[in-house]
Each structure stands twice: as C-alpha cells, then as structure tokens.
C-alpha cells in the first residue's frame, strides 16, 4: 500500500509542476522566437547572461509597441550544456512551439546540433558562439557573435605592435582549445609571430604547473590560452605563482564581471579580446554603437542591478536582427525571413554594425573586436 501512496504523491507533484506554465492570453498572436541557453551544466554561467539580455530586449521591443503591431514572444529552453538536449529542445521549439526563428547556444558543439535542426526545418537561427557558419551548408544559420578568428587576429595585431614574436600555446582539451590552436597557427605568420610550443590541459585538473613549467623553458614572450572562466583564471594565477610575468591572452569568453572577480588578485597582464559592450565608457562618442549600448545598459541596470555584458550583447543583437528582418517582411515563412536577414545592412547593434550577405553570415568585422586588460579590477582598453 505504501508503494501506491508514494506513486500518488509523485503523480500529483508532476501535475502541479506541469501546471505552473505561464498562460498567456493575447488578442493578436505574437511572433514566437525560440531561445536555447545553457541554464544548467558547465556553461550555465554564460546561459544566464544570454537569457537575461534577450528577454529584456524582447520586453523593450514589446513596450515600444512590438513589431508591425504584434508582440514578440521568447520561448526559452535549457540545453543543459549538452548537444543532444540542444538538438531536442530545438526540435521542440520548431515543431511544438511553432517558433519562426531561434537564437542562442554558447558552445560550438551545441551550436552544431542546433544549427542542424535550423537547417533541416528551414528556421532562421542566430547563434552566439565560436561556431563558424559556412553559408553554403548552413543556409539558415547566422552568428551574431564575433568570429573566433577576430579573437586571435586582433590580439596578434597588438602583439606585433608591442614587438612580441614568441608565443606559447596552452590550450584546454575541448572545442575551444582546438579552435584556438588552429587559429593561432593560421594567423601567426601574418603578424610575424612564432609559436614556440603547445601544451594541452584538462579544464577540471587541479594543477597545471607541469604544462606551464614545460612551456617556460621555451622562452615565450606571451602565453596564449584559449579558455574561458575558471580555467582561464587558473592559467593566469598559476603563471603568476610560477613567476612567469609575461602577458597571457585568454578567450573573448572572459569579458564579463565574473572573470574580473576570479582574477582580482592576479598580478600579471591578462589580455582579453572583447566587443564594445564590455567597456562602453572607452568608446568615442561618435561611435554609433555607443548610444545603443548605453541605452540598453540603463534598462539592464534597472532590471537586474548590473549592466549588460559582451555575451548578453550577442543575444540582444540576435533579437534585434530578427526584429529588423520582421519589419521588412512581416512573415512566418522561414525562407523569406532568412532572405531578409541575409539582406540586413548597417544594423547598429551592441557588438558592432551588422552587414550580412550570401557569403557572410557573421556580419561583423575585425575592427569590432578590441583588446582589453584587467587593471585594478576594471577593464582597460589596449587596442581599439
């Protein structure tokens, strides 16, 4: 009898939970956009920023009267930092929720899984990760994040200016490390840089001094470690502890307030590539993006008690791009919407000015990326 009792409790728990869903009653059907963010799992810290930013942007657009007299609705799901779940929720958005476009994801593998759904069901999908969009294969996929290439090329440009020619690579085992390593080798010759050595490390390992010690023998003038968050902070801290007082270049994933806290007591130069949204006060007033960033930051500060950052900006821009395309073609048709997005020119976003074409689904340019460093717990611009 006890067993059935437990079963009944369980069932009622589920009924209660499933009934919680917000019931939206609206006169004119809203445009539904799907949002896929890693809200749990190892990327969850990124997911929160992206979710907050995109939700607020939708809210602001709706407050201003929506688009073509219709509201926007953002349906958000958690991809649990896993490609399989990403693929599943994308499928859910497309076929159950009937979204007309999707935004989101934070890692290359999840983007790959979601992109393949977007292409299959002809749903325009704007992702924000290091995933390289090939317009020939990924017809329906766009990427509002800066190209990963920029995050390597711009800092190398900075290195060249500073006379740094010997760089050692310390790459995390995983997609970021693979990308970073490949790009470093690709751009090194262009900026007269020699890669003196390459090591890998497991982002969960408690100690990486072995790798750093090995690299130190090669006499690098800078270390490039394409990783994000805790591992990046660990690299910087370990270098400081080993007395390696040379610049460490980490990924553009670190341009957020959380990272500043993680490296608050590290005393070596940490270089972080980032877009304008990471350091808005340093942008000249005549830059059209400045207005956009400051306005949005104000709303973000009001609602969440902190300004938007580089990652929320990617998703804010993604919402903006879809909204702009919807204004041109008020349609739920994937092909037409894709076409409208592809024809978007001169859209001023937080991360740059977007110009899409049939051969470029990224839209931004190298100069949209800056190089920052951490100074007294704040960002300082080294190259803009």
């Amino acid at each position: 009898m006890k067993k059935f009792f437990v079963l009944i409790i369980l069932c009622s728990v589920f009924v209660i939970f499933t009934g919680v869903g917000p019931i939206m009653a609206q006169t004119k059907a809203p445009y539904k956009i799907g949002g896929i963010f890693p809200l749990t799992g190892y990327l969850s810290w990124l997911g929160e920023y992206k979710k907050k930013g995109s939700e607020l942007k939708v809210e602001l657009i709706n407050k201003a009267g929506g688009i073509n007299g219709r509201q926007l609705e953002l349906v958000v799901y958690d991809d649990q930092s896993s490609p399989e779940t990403g693929s599943r929720v994308a499928q859910r958005l497309v076929s159950k929720d009937g979204v007309i476009a999707m935004i989101g994801t934070a890692s290359v593998p999840i983007s790959g899984a979601v992109a393949s759904i977007g292409n299959r069901y002809k749903i325009p999908t704007i992702i924000g990760s290091g995933y390289e969009v090939d317009p020939k294969k990924d017809h329906f996929v766009f990427n509002s994040a800066h190209k990963t290439d920029f995050a390597v090329e711009r800092p190398f440009e900075y290195f060249k200016g500073k006379g740094i020619t010997k760089v050692a690579l310390l790459m995390p085992i995983g997609p970021l490390g693979e990308l970073g390593g490949g790009l470093a080798r690709k751009y090194a010759p262009k900026y007269g840089i020699t890669i003196v050595g390459e090591e890998r490390f497991d982002v969960k390992a408690p100690d990486i001094t072995a790798q750093l010690a090995k690299l130190r023998t090669l006499g690098p003038q800078a270390v490039f470690s394409f990783c994000t968050g805790e591992p990046a902070a660990l690299v910087a801290r370990s270098m400081a502890q080993l007395g390696m007082n040379i610049p460490v270049l980490v990924s553009h994933g670190n341009a957020n307030p959380g990272f500043l806290k993680l490296v608050s007591n590290v005393n070596i130069p940490i270089l972080v590539p980032a877009g304008r949204a990471a350091a808005p006060e340093s942008i000249p007033d005549n830059d059209p993006c400045k207005r956009v960033i400051l306005d949005f930051n104000k709303a973000h500060q009001q609602k969440f008690g902190e300004p938007a950052n580089y990652y929320s900006a990617e998703m804010v821009d993604a919402v903006d791009i879809i909204a702009a395309a919807l204004k041109v073609v008020p349609t739920a048709d994937g092909e037409k919407l894709q076409d409208a997005i592809e024809k978007t020119k001169g859209l001023v976003g937080m991360n740059g000015i977007y110009n899409f074409s049939t051969t470029d689904h990224h839209g931004t340019v190298l100069q949209d990326m800056m190089v920052l460093t951490v100074k007294d717990g704040k960002w300082q611009v080294l190259l803009k």
């Binding site: 939970f17 919680v20 749990t40 299959r120 997609p175």
Partner: protein, 318 residues
C-alpha cells in the same frame, strides 16, 4: 480476462504503432522525443542482459554507443558509405572490440569491473577528442546525412520513428529469446553463483563474453540510429555521465525484466520535458525520484506493473 492475459502484448504494440498519428498528432517533436526514447531503450535493454541477467556491472556502456555512432558518422559523412552499410560495419567493429575486451575485463569482479568499464569509456571519449582529423574532435562532426535504406531516405521523423521502433521491437524480441533459451538460463545461473556454474563445467567466461558482445552490438546499433537523427556528433554526449544515465534508466525501470528499460527510458527522457520550467530543480528531483524508487520499489517501475497485473488476475482467477 484470459484473452488479455494471453494477448496483452498487443496493447503496447498498438500504442507504438498508432502513437505518431494519435497522441503525437503528427507533431515531429513528440515523434522525435520517442525516437530518442527508442534509442535509449535499445541501450538499456542491452545493459539489462549484461547486468540484470548475467550480473556484470558496467559503468561504461556509452563507449559502445560512441563507437557505433562515430563509425556511422565518419563513414557516411566523410567516406560516402551508405548509412545501412556503415551501421553494419559499426556493429561488426564494436563486436570485435567487445570480444577482445570481454575475456580479460569480465574476469574482474564488482567494483573492479565497474572501474575497468568506466576507464574504457574514458579512453574512447579521450580518443574521440584527441583524433581531431578523424572525428572532428571536441567541436563535433558535421554534415551527417539522414538514414536511407536502398535509396529510400528516412528524413521524415515519422518514418524514422517507425524504423527506430521496429529495431527496438527486434532487439526486445531477440533479448527475450536469449533469456528464455538454455543460454539465458545459464546466464542466470552465472549471476546467482558463478563458482557453482563453473563447478558444473560451464565455461563462464565464454558465456559472459558472448552476452557482452551482444549488449555492445545493440549499443552500437543505437549509436548509428542516434547519429543519423542528430545529423551532428559531439563527444559530450558519450561520456561517463551518459553511461550513468543508462544505468539509472535500467534501475528506475526495473532490472532483470527486459521490459523495465522501456519504462525507465521513457521516464528519464520525459522528466526534463515536465520540469523544463524549473530546470534548477531537475537534478534534485531526478535524484529524489531515483531514491524513492530504490527504497520503495526494488523492482523499479516495472515492478508496479507486475504487482497490479498479479492482483488483477488473482481476482479474476477466483
């Protein structure tokens, strides 16, 4: 009532057959979900043969899932093999790997066996990540075509749903045939007392290896089905956490029952659908549910079904 007792299996079969057009209402999403459920049923049934009937613990079943998936993915996306051919090659490859591993690894007991299987899972995943030129590395393998048999492309999810579930039914039928055969009874004997079985002249290692190979081949098949549905592969989906997930499905559904895994896979894949609005609680909730099942329902969800079943017929027979 007697009729029901004899032909009960028609009910679930009818459910599977009519599901896409009735409950799912032609929605690709719900059919898609059941495709994943079906794939996990194949994995879990294989593990049930190994753990439930033969008593061999595995915390690395996702390794064989990965080998099948990547064999299919690489052969079709990079070398233009037909999906069916790639699937068969994957199964043969996995079978050979499992056969080679089987004897030495299955000689281990309990936790040491658990460790060895876990280690193999890690080896496979680290190799996938390390061999970028072949597997696409951690960034994943793109552009995998949809499944097709003899020129007929199964890109429609409802078609693919029927294809996957047809395989699920074949796998279940095979498994039932195995456990009900003399071979299966020997496995159960090995489970209950391996020393005694050996004393009776049973070559236990041979039996254990065979069932291990079968379970691995099932997993490989599931991997191929997974690959062509996702269209994209990344090592994140094949780690030890996936192995543990399969293990959890097995115990949740009911170990040593063949049918239990179906319930377990359903439950574990549907849970996130029910809790997506409270995703922060999902981890806690799934842990608590598993605890409740283990404490109160040692035979898993399937145990509840059999209990109700027996009560029904106990009354009917009177």
């Amino acid at each position: 009532m007697k009729l029901l007792k004899q032909f009960w299996w028609i009910l679930p079969l009818a459910f599977i057959a009519f599901y896409p057009v009735t409950l799912a209402g032609g929605s690709p999403y719900w059919s898609g979900l059941l495709i994943f459920v079906g794939i996990y049923v194949i994995l879990t049934v294989g593990l049930d043969l190994l753990m439930g009937y033969t008593g061999q613990i595995s915390v690395g079943h996702a390794a064989y899932f990965a080998i099948g998936a990547y064999a299919s993915g690489i052969l079709t996306a990079k070398y233009g093999f037909s999906p069916l051919g790639a699937m068969v090659i994957g199964m043969v490859l996995t079978g050979i790997v499992a056969w080679a591993l089987g004897r030495p690894v299955l000689a281990l007991k309990e936790y040491y066996l658990a460790m060895a299987t876990l280690a193999f899972n890690e080896i496979v995943v680290t190799l996938i990540i390390g061999l970028e030129w072949l597997t696409g590395g951690a960034s994943g393998l793109r552009d995998i075509p949809s499944f097709s048999i003899f020129g007929l492309v199964l890109s429609n999810h409802v078609h693919y749903y029927y294809f996957v579930w047809a395989i699920v039914i074949i796998v279940i039928a095979c498994s039932l045939a195995v456990v009900r055969s003399p071979f299966g009874r020997t496995l159960v004997a090995i489970h209950s007392d391996e020393v005694a079985a050996r004393a009776f002249g049973v070559d236990t290692a041979k039996y254990k290896t065979r069932i291990f190979v079968l379970a691995s081949v099932f997993a490989s098949m599931a991997g191929s089905l997974f690959t062509h549905y996702m269209g994209f592969l990344a090592p994140d989906d094949f780690g030890v956490l996936t192995s543990i997930n399969i293990l959890v499905m097995l115990f949740l559904g009911g170990i040593g029952t063949i049918f239990g895994p179906i319930l377990g896979a359903f439950f574990m894949k549907l849970l996130p659908e029910l809790t997506y609005q409270i995703h922060d609680y999902e981890l806690l909730l799934s842990g608590l549910i598993l605890i409740i099942v283990l404490v109160f329902m040692p035979k898993g969800l399937f145990g509840i079904f059999t209990a109700i079943w027996e009560k029904m017929f106990a009354k009917a027979d009177k």
